[in-house]
């Protein structure tokens, strides 16, 4: 069976709550069947609105959403057959775990013995066998979260939506739940649309990430591409750590460009600059810049160490480089790098293709 490329399709969707401000602007988004897509963005970027439109709790102001080829704007939420995990779990507090899971099966009139099998299966999937008779209030946050996940999957939906489901958990639990959800997704192959504002969560879990800002998808790509090859300054700054140099393009040729920064010219990879004289912002990941570089690197400069922060496995070094006082380096704690001291001048280098010249925003 071929997997559909556009299992979920947002087609030119606009959404406005008050008729003045567009929360979602001309959204175009295709989600493949069986994919784990994360909508990532700062709060107010429109990602939750998109999820709510998909679930049916909000209607698009303009445009159409298709699920498996059907336009769903006129289908009420309960007929869409979409599983959903809510931010605060939304477990029914007056029902036991069993009854919570039985709810979607009962409304579908599934016979009791079949329903019991499904519930057992769903509970074992989230390793909560034996908790069926507990009330949600008697469970810990993590356990409630698992019940919510189990409940959203128990009726075998084609699509599951998750709205910041791990937001209320502490860090360790959140990380283990991330893997658990990822494994569940891999084992049953359901399509998942996941909303979060936590980039590390998005990077660990997703097949593809849609970065939202200002009601628009800034970039939709796999986690590694998103991190390695951001297409604009917003994505570069939102995902991971980033060193930037603002400057002006002086020359562009042969897949490289020269950018004038603080009286010197940096060689960079032209991503969104087209010609001379354009303002640009160069983005460079901290781990792509090395100290004591080899001569093969085409950018080598000298800077002064402003701050050294010990992080156990690595050391963060803040350097004043080419007028940028916030240039960060991550130096592995190996014996070769013991001479990093505050106030010392060191040489730093990187390859021009790692320095991406993006929009100047």
């Amino acid at each position: 069976m071929a997997l559909k490329k556009d299992f979920v399709k947002f087609d030119k969707v606009d959404k406005s709550y008050d008729g003045k401000i567009l929360v979602v602007k001309d959204l175009q988004l295709d989600i493949e069947e069986g994919e784990f897509v994360t909508m990532l963005g700062p709060s107010g970027s429109g990602k939750t609105t998109c999820l709510m439109m998909l679930a049916g709790f909000e209607t698009p102001t303009h445009g159409e959403i298709y699920l498996d080829g059907r336009a769903i704007s006129s289908i009420p939420p309960h007929k869409r057959g979409i599983g959903m995990v809510f931010q605060n779990y939304a477990l029914f507090p007056h029902m036991t775990v069993y009854e919570n899971l039985a709810f979607p099966l009962r409304v579908r009139k599934i016979p009791k013995d079949e329903a019991d099998k499904k519930i057992d299966k769903a509970l074992s999937m989230v390793s909560l066998q034996g908790f069926a008779d507990r009330m949600p209030g008697q469970l810990s946050g993590g356990q409630q979260q698992r019940v919510a996940v189990a409940r959203s999957l128990v009726f075998d939906p084609q699509l599951v939506l998750m709205d910041e489901p791990l937001g209320a958990l502490d860090k360790n639990l959140r990380e283990s739940m991330q893997y658990e959800i990822k494994h569940i997704h891999e084992s049953i192959g359901v399509t998942v649309v996941y909303v979060t504002h936590d980039q590390s969560e998005a990077l660990t879990m997703s097949n593809r990430i849609a970065v939202f800002n200002d009601g628009k998808v800034q970039q939709l790509s796999s986690p590694d591409e998103l991190y390695e090859k951001p297409v604009n300054s917003f994505v570069a700054e939102f995902i991971g750590e980033n060193n930037t140099f603002a400057g002006e393009v002086t020359d562009i040729s042969g897949g490289k460009c020269k950018v004038k920064v603080a009286n010197t010219e940096i060689l960079a990879n032209p991503i969104s600059v087209k010609g001379k004289g354009e303002k640009t912002k160069i983005s460079l990941r901290p781990e792509r810049a090395l100290i004591n570089p080899s001569d093969k690197m085409d950018n080598i400069y000298s800077g002064k160490i402003e701050e050294v922060i010990y992080h156990g496995d690595h050391t963060r070094v803040r350097i004043n480089l080419l007028g940028n006082n916030e240039f960060i380096l991550k130096v592995p704690n190996s014996s070769a790098n013991m001479d990093i001291k505050l106030g010392k001048d060191i040489k730093i280098g990187w390859n021009s293709e790692d320095a991406r010249a993006l929009d100047p925003k």
Binding site: I82, A90, F92, V107, F155
Partner: protein, 417 residues
């Protein structure tokens, strides 16, 4: 080892327990002093009056004290034939004393409660007794009026001998103790109190039901509307609280009377003919309408406070899991509002069951409640002990409802705000 752990000493050698008690005692005294004014207030204004009411409702000392010799003499009387001379003599002596103290009127009132017809014969006895000769009082008293020779009247006097009586309570249920001491119902056409009790329960029940039906959607709106609208709506709900009860009731009178606004409107739109305006006041309809409006906030507020705590995502979850809006409401939302429903209904019912002013003003004859009867006995007949008895029966009824509620729903499930 155990003796060492038993007595832990503080640094200056005082046993820990003693030191703890000392520290706690100050707090306890402080706490008690803080609640003392309220406690005193409650005792004076609540416990004491209720106790007094209880005493008054069973107290029957008045006649016992007025006729001490008579009742002593009556102890030997078997209560079948007319009593012996010594009873008559004792009664004469007691009666003379009362006449001297000008208290025979009270006696006649009291005895008249027990049996009709005492009033006139006591009046007559007072006049005649001035010229009584010593000795053979039986003959002389019996000759005053033929009722004095009737054994039933003497039995009636004897029934007033005990200092305490359940008579008022029986009367409240249209029952009485007959001559043989059996508890029987009064004749069918005189059973007014039972009708009143049933009507009170009926009106309280339906007012609570109407309040619930109207308050539920309002409370839901209040809990789900955006703040700027819900505040306005909340003010609308609370507005009646800021208006005097009398003003509200009077405005209902203006609206509901036969030449009133509502009737004019009905005639205006052609719903009813001008000469067939329905009576909406001075009957049950008026009581229902006005009481429902007045008690509505008491239902809205507990419901609102519970609904406010129900996360909107629960209904969404119910729908996204495949429940139609009705199923999601019935299986998810409604069960979560039960504590509020319980609190609101209990509050409304208890308030309605003892409601007084509104039914008195708009109820007419068929819309009055037991509380109006109590007030009637307090103000008009001055039978305070009967009023007390009925008040206590009302209180017992409320406590019984409370108890049933606790058994069915559980009182800790209640949520008032």
């Amino acid at each position: 080892m155990s003796s060492e752990t038993k007595k832990i000493l503080t640094t200056d050698g005082i046993p820990l327990e003693v030191s703890l008690k000392k520290a706690e005692r100050r707090n306890k005294i402080k706490a008690f002093l803080l609640v003392a004014p309220l406690l005193l207030f409650l005792i004076i204004t609540y416990v004491f009056p209720i106790g007094d009411m209880l005493m008054r409702s069973v107290d029957d000392k008045m006649v016992t004290e007025m006729l001490p010799k008579t009742f002593k003499a009556m102890e030997k009387w078997d209560g079948k034939e007319l009593p012996e001379e010594e009873v008559f003599e004792a009664f004469y002596l007691d009666f003379r004393k009362l006449v001297d103290e000008k208290r025979e009127g009270k006696l006649s009132t009291q005895l008249n409660y027990t049996k009709n017809g005492f009033k006139s014969i006591i009046k007559k006895l007072r006049r005649k007794s001035k010229s009584f000769e010593e000795g053979n009082y039986k003959e002389q008293i019996m000759s005053v009026h033929k009722r004095w020779a009737n054994v039933e009247y003497w039995k009636a006097i004897k029934r007033r001998a005990p200092a305490f009586t359940s008579q008022k309570y029986l009367k409240g249920m249209d029952m009485y103790k007959n001559e043989n001491g059996e508890i029987v119902s009064v004749e069918e056409d005189r059973r007014i109190h039972r009708i009143l009790w049933l009507r009170t329960l009926e009106i309280a029940f339906f007012v609570t039901l109407f309040c619930f039906l109207m308050a539920y959607p309002i409370a839901h709106l209040l809990a789900t509307l955006p703040m700027k609208y819900s505040n306005l709506l909340m003010i609308c709900v609370l507005l009646p609280f800021w208006t005097s009860l009398l003003v509200r009731t009077a405005s209902w009178m203006i609206l509901l009377q036969q030449q009133g606004v509502v009737n004019d409107f009905f005639v205006g739109i052609g719903l009813v003919a001008d000469d067939a305006r329905p009576e909406m006041m001075y009957n049950k309809t008026g009581t229902y309408v006005a009481m429902t409006q007045i008690l509505l906030p008491f239902m809205v507020l507990p419901l609102y406070s519970v609904m406010k705590t129900i996360s909107p995502s629960l209904m969404r979850a119910g729908k996204s899991l495949g429940g139609t809006p009705i199923v999601a409401f019935w299986k998810v939302y409604f069960p979560l509002t039960i504590p509020g429903i319980g609190a609101g209904c209990l509050l409304c019912f208890i308030l309605a069951i003892g409601y007084y002013i509104t039914p008195a003003l708009v109820g007419g004859a068929s819309g009055t409640l037991i509380s109006n009867q109590i007030a009637f006995h307090m103000k008009s007949t001055l039978d305070w002990s009967f009023a007390s008895a009925m008040g206590l029966m009302l209180l017992a009824g409320v406590l019984a409802i409370y108890w049933v509620y606790n058994k069915l729903v559980g009182i800790d499930n209640i949520k008032l705000g």
